[in-house]
């Protein structure tokens, strides 16, 4: 279970300003059931455009509820211009900090606030900008780029902590990494294309690996191994000396010989023992 601050617990157990303002001036909704958390924020302004009342409804974990509650407390009495300056860090700090894995709860608060203000100003809710990178959580490249600069993120893990992208199947990790590299002005060395393995080269590599990596170790235990044949990806060998007939021979073949060969030659190899 998470280590929450007392302030988080207190706001979770006694959340302030729960509910919906029926004749609200601004409404902001973010999140979804599928994502596991969602927040609806409504506010009412007074004649001087100050936030007179603000309420929330949240579906989510303890820190999502506490973050929403904190947000409403932060907003009360603020002018719109001041409210616009409220960030997710303000929410987290107000609560005495959040576990890093839960930062996305505070980000959700900031997003709902932005939406609610845009709604009040009559700014049309524009279609999601950019191209979806993370299918699982519906996060676009524009959103990821923005999060990278806003929160100074440098790893996929942090991107997940803050805006959830990458937290599901993991298929988008590579693209997120690319975006991080771009943001940091890094370039990745292009991965060299593996040379196509010819049969001759494969055979030579198998022989070399046996000689260099495998035989010395077996000889130490009083055994030896001999290459009988190579048939496609099947490597036929016979064991000698202490190795043959030893009950651990199968383990040796699978766990040592085959592993080494796969490591140094190609991962598809299967080692089989032939008896003479």
């Amino acid at each position: 279970m998470w280590e929450y601050t007392d302030k988080v617990k207190e706001h979770f157990l006694n959340p302030r300003n729960v509910g919906v303002i029926e004749d609200a001036d601004g409404v902001g909704e973010v999140g979804s059931l599928a994502c596991g958390d969602a927040l609806k924020l409504t506010f009412k302004l007074d004649e001087n455009e100050r936030i007179k009342d603000v309420k929330f409804q949240t579906f989510g974990c303890a820190s999502a509820i506490a973050s929403s509650s904190a947000l409403t407390e932060l907003l009360k009495g603020k002018s719109l211009a001041e409210a616009e300056q409220v960030t997710n860090d303000d929410i987290a700090n107000y609560l005495g900090g959040l576990p890093r894995e839960k930062m996305h709860c505070s980000v959700m608060g900031q997003e709902a606030l932005e939406k609610a203000i845009a709604c009040y100003r009559g700014v049309p809710v524009e279609e999601k900008e950019g191209e979806i990178v993370c299918e699982c959580f519906g996060v676009t490249d524009v959103e990821i780029r923005r999060a990278l600069t806003d929160h100074h993120l440098a790893t996929v893990e942090d991107v997940t902590n803050f805006i959830k992208a990458g937290g599901g199947c993991g298929n988008c990790h590579e693209r997120i990494e690319k975006l991080i590299d771009e943001a940091l002005g890094r370039e990745r060395a292009p991965v060299p294309k593996p040379r196509k393995m010819t049969n001759i080269r494969k055979l030579r590599l198998i022989e070399e690996t046996l000689e260099r990596e495998i035989q010395p170790a077996l000889k130490k235990d009083g055994g030896d191994i001999e290459l009988v044949d190579v048939d496609g990806n099947r490597v036929l060998v016979s064991l000698r000396g202490a190795c043959s007939g030893c009950s651990a021979a199968q383990v040796t073949l699978r766990e040592f010989v085959e592993k080494k060969l796969r490591e140094f030659v190609v991962p598809e190899l299967v080692v089989e023992e032939v008896c003479e």
Binding site: M1, K9, F12, L13, P15, V18, V20, E29, L33, A34, C35, G36, D37, A38, L39, K40, Q57, T58, F59, G60, C61, A62, A64, I65, E101, C136, F137, T160, K164, G167, G168, S247, A248, Q250, V251, L253, R254, E258, R262, P267, E268, V270, E272, E273
Partner: protein
């Protein structure tokens, strides 16, 4: 505040009788069971007595029991042993709802040269046996299916499957960590080749488990070392815990009837009353074929971590398949494999009872939980939508 512990599928309280049996092994009986002199022989004697008790619980012979450090080690040992014994078969079948001990090993194997098939389940968590039989082949070295699911309590018909599998000369292993001690298991004329169990799920301490290996099953050790456990598991035995496990096995046999009558009734009462008092709640899993102590209930439109923390304030311990509790962002792989909709998966709570729970405790939960759920729903934007249509 009194603690009401309803998370016995996660771990159990160590039974007082178990502690009593263990203490002498931490004090006077400190000898190495492999040594020759008198005091050590006394230790070896206790170890063998524990083995006999575990064997009795399963209805097998003591020579077929190997002590390990946990359920995960037992599972790993069984799976690797079967694969090594059949080096030219490269196929492994398991299910999509296994415990990580088997599931993650399966995923590892599929990245390392094996073909691995994960059998799907239906919306109640029942196995798709047709799919399963269709995928057995001459290349299949091993089948591993859990006996009882840890999250929903759903039982797989492992005995029946094992018979079919055996006819085709394939090794059958079952992760029975949740089943042992909760339902009667008679292995005498079973076709199951290997079975894993864990001490801390049946009121023994953490850090001890056992693996049953049917006589005649090809086997190679996972922990290679000394000649302990007849050369099948190297490393000096965790004597005190093994003795504790032996005592726990005997206790489990004594409690078997209560598990299946009194505990079952308490579970049923808890479940029926919660469903009666709380709208939009449903059971996950197969209500018919299920462990007597487990119920997994989804409360729609709210999130599991919040429920757990509010219950914690009331002294009630349970667990959840929600994403937030595990630190991942997706709900449990078991509920997802069952296709439980998101509206429900995030708000799932598992209650797992033991013989130490009382009716008063269950009544307390029945009384308190509806208000917790109502409170969280009042805060949820989705609940509002549902209410207003």
């Amino acid at each position: 505040m009194k603690t009401i512990y309803l998370d016995n599928n996660a771990t159990t309280a160590v039974a007082p009788e178990v502690v009593d049996a263990m203490l002498p092994c931490l004090r006077e009986f400190y000898g190495n069971p492999s040594s020759m002199y008198g005091p050590a022989r006394q230790v070896a004697h206790r170890l063998e007595e524990a083995r006999a008790r575990v064997a009795d619980l399963l209805g097998v012979s003591p020579a077929e029991i190997i002590f390990t450090s946990c359920g995960t080690e037992s599972d790993s040992t069984a799976i690797w042993a079967a694969l090594r014994a059949n080096p030219d078969k490269r196929h492994f079948i398991t299910s999509r709802v296994e415990h990580p001990a088997v599931k993650n090993l399966g995923e590892y194997l599929s990245r390392n040269g094996y073909r691995v098939t994960f059998m799907p389940v239906d919306s109640r968590g029942r196995p798709d046996l047709d799919f399963f039989y269709d995928h057995l082949s001459d290349d299949t070295a091993l089948v591993s299916l859990m006996w009882a699911n840890n999250e929903t309590g759903t039982l797989f018909p492992v005995e029946e499957v094992a018979r079919q599998v055996k006819e085709r000369g394939i090794v059958f292993h079952t992760d029975a960590v949740q089943a042992v001690g909760k339902i009667p298991i008679r292995m005498a004329d079973s076709a199951i080749d290997m079975l894993a169990l864990s001490g801390h799920k049946l009121h023994a301490p953490k850090g001890v488990g056992a693996l049953y290996v049917r006589k005649g099953t090809k086997f190679s050790p996972f922990m290679i070392g000394g000649h302990q456990e007849s050369g099948r598991r190297g490393g000096t035995e965790n004597v005190a815990s093994v003795v504790g496990l032996g005592r726990a096995a005997a206790l489990a046999a004594d409690h078997m009837e209560a598990e299946n009558t009194r505990v079952r009734q308490l579970r049923d009462k808890l479940e029926t009353e919660l469903l009666r008092r709380i709208p939009n709640a449903m059971i996950n899993g197969d209500p018919e074929h299920r462990l007597p102590n487990t119920t997994n209930i989804s409360f729609e439109y709210i999130e599991g971590e919040s429920i757990l923390l509010m219950m914690d304030e009331l002294g009630i311990c349970a667990s959840s398949g929600s994403a937030c509790t595990s630190g991942s962002l997706e709900p449990s792989h078991v509920l997802r494999a069952m296709g439980v909709p998101f509206t429900a998966a995030h708000g799932s709570v598992r209650f797992s009872l033991s013989v130490y729970n009382t009716e008063a405790e269950i009544d307390y939960v029945i009384e308190k939980l509806p208000a917790v759920i109502a409170r969280l729903r009042d805060m949820s934007p989705f609940w509002q939508q549902v209410q207003t249509g």
